[in-house]
Amino acid sequence: MARNRLTNFVSSVYAVLIFGFIFLPVIMLVLFSFQDGRLPVSPFNGFSLQWYEAVFADRKLMSALLHSFLVATISSLVACLLGFFAAYGLARFKLPGSALQRGLLIAPMTVSYLIIALGLLSVLNVLGIGLSLWTVGIGHVVINLPLCFAIIYSSMGDQHINIERAARDLGASDIKVMALVTAPMLLPSLLASFFLSMTFSWDEFIIAFLLSRFDVTLPVEIWSLLRSGLNPKTNAIGSLVFLVSVVLLIVLELFLFGRTKKS
């Protein structure tokens, strides 16, 4: 009993300290987005919304926000689709060299984003293809496809095979089986991989930096903004994105995740 209370106390203290550590930079970030002054450094002069106004008035920043959203959504969709199809093919059929194929699909996960970006840059250069948000999207699919594939593949258990077989016996074509039977059964992993892909793509910097030209994503625009010196405007946009994500998560929590009956 006493031991339990002790571990509970220690756990609570530890949790508070760690959460404090985790949230420290975020608190400073949000606090100084309200800085009444040009520099987001102490001392804190007072509350001002001027930087949030500046963010909304900044056309390039707003475009970058939109671009990030588009690139993240589209590249995650592509990565999920490709990953789903590949996982289906490798999990449901016997193919020669499947271990090698699996290895190949996972391989990009072990390569640093910088290298992937440099490689793509050189190849695009040789092929004479111009840089744009599309090339950024291509890079993001490259980094997210292994993730999607791994997550979906590892959740395609044999227990689903019978259901699919039943569907096929009833005359459904492969595509119908995939869309109406397999996909719904795998919904959690599909969503998990889509969600993770979006998260990685949204904040990804180096690939977006090297593979874009005029239309850039948010992290690159923030980097450019910072070139002219530290600015509470970047704190404001950081806080805004944070706020939107929190709201989104709350929405998801309330409407999507719902009440789980099992653990």
Binding site: R38, L70, I151, L187, S224, R227, G229
Partner: protein, 364 residues
């Protein structure tokens, strides 16, 4: 891990996904309107991205100016290497690197009468850099100094007049070194009594030793942002290699920041602007260049958001307020120009040696 989001029903999810997709589509369609406008693509330094500078030109000529910033001439030239002819119309480049661009044959000749050469401060006309065989390829648009910025409440201003004090115990751990090897090697050379224009391979060992000693005395080697931040937060009290461009924009919030040119001298940087040879809109590009070097354009460029510095066109003074001129030390420029030297212009081999020395310095 996927138990995490178990309990989601398919119909619910599909509704959600459909809403998201519609939102995305709506956002994409209602965003950037497609105007039948002319476009100009410029590869520039960050001070050209200020809307206050660009918008007047865009409105006057009904054109959209697309800007891509780059840092470091190598990065800029490789961006051009990786582009197709016609991708770029205007180029901003380090004054000392214009000849490299001419070697690569990427700049178009500019007719002499198109530029206000007579109005440009004589010391920064830099004909040797901006032209070849009597043909003009670029024009200086802005200049400034890599010298010493400091916090005058923490540091003895008299000390700052002597560059060698930066190597002394007194300021150990209180210095940020600007992260650009070319001017910093130039400054180190000046402290050793060598002129930047005459640096050779033989000078490198001495310079490397000086650099290592400087690094040992410094807190950090940092770029514009980090140097500015460090100076503003009091992390460091001196930025070696800084200048007006580092502090002018901060002066309102931090009036304790100042800069000076030591007795030994300092290094002068200059940026030039030119028209790309393969541009399909040479006339428009030239118009842009002319706007930038016009008195009004120059005044805006001088006080642009990324960094402030002296405009090359003396007539810009008519469009600057007294306050702005004071921050730029307008009236002291004649003296400063006399006491400062251009960046070193090394051969490819010497350049490689310099970068090696710099990398070694960073690692130690």
């Amino acid at each position: 891990m996927t138990d995490f989001i178990a309990g989601i029903s398919a119909p619910r999810f599909l509704t959600f996904a459909a809403t998201l997709a519609l939102a995305a589509a709506a956002a994409a369609l209602t965003s950037e309107p497609v105007l039948a406008q002319d476009e100009l693509n410029a590869l520039v330094w960050c001070d050209h991205t200020d809307p206050a500078l660009i918008e007047p030109f865009e409105k006057a000529n009904n054109v959209k100016v697309n800007l891509k910033e780059y840092e470091g001439t190598g990065a800029g030239l490789s961006i051009i290497d990786q582009s197709r002819p016609g991708d770029w119309d205007v180029l901003v480049i380090d004054g000392v690197d214009v000849q490299r661009a001419v070697d690569k044959d990427i700049l178009a000749e500019i007719p002499a009468d198109a530029l206000p050469n007579a109005d440009i401060f004589p010391d920064v006309r830099m004909e040797a850099n901006n032209s070849r065989d009597g043909r003009i390829y670029a024009v200086t648009e802005k200049f400034g100094y890599n010298t010493v910025s400091y916090d005058k409440t923490k540091v003895d201003p008299a000390d700052m007049k002597d560059m060698s004090k930066l190597w002394s115990e007194k300021y150990k751990g209180r210095i940020a070194v600007y992260d650009y090897y070319l001017p910093m090697i130039g400054l180190t050379g000046i402290d050793l009594g060598k002129a930047t224009a005459s640096l050779t391979d033989a000078d490198m060992p001495a310079i490397k030793d000086k650099l290592l000693a400087l690094k040992a005395n410094a807190k950090q080697v940092s770029d514009v942002v980090s140097s500015q931040t460090a100076l503003a937060t009091g992390e460091v009290d001196i930025v070696f290699g800084g200048g007006e461009w580092l502090t002018a924009g901060l002066v309102k919030d931090k009036p304790n920041l100042d800069w000076t040119i030591p007795e030994q001298g300092a290094v002068r940087w200059a940026q030039s602007i030119g028209v790309m040879k393969d541009s399909t809109k040479k006339d428009l590009a030239l118009k842009f260049v002319q706007y930038i070097v016009s008195p009004e354009g120059q005044a805006r460029l001088a006080t642009s958001s990324c960094y402030w510095a002296m405009p090359a066109n003396a007539k810009a003074g008519e469009h600057l307020t007294d306050e702005q001129k004071a921050a730029l030390r307008w009236n002291e420029q004649a003296d400063y120009l006399k006491r400062t030297q251009l960046y070193p212009i090394p051969t490819a081999e010497l350049d490689a040696k310099m970068q090696d020395a710099w990398t070694e310095m960073l690692q130690n």
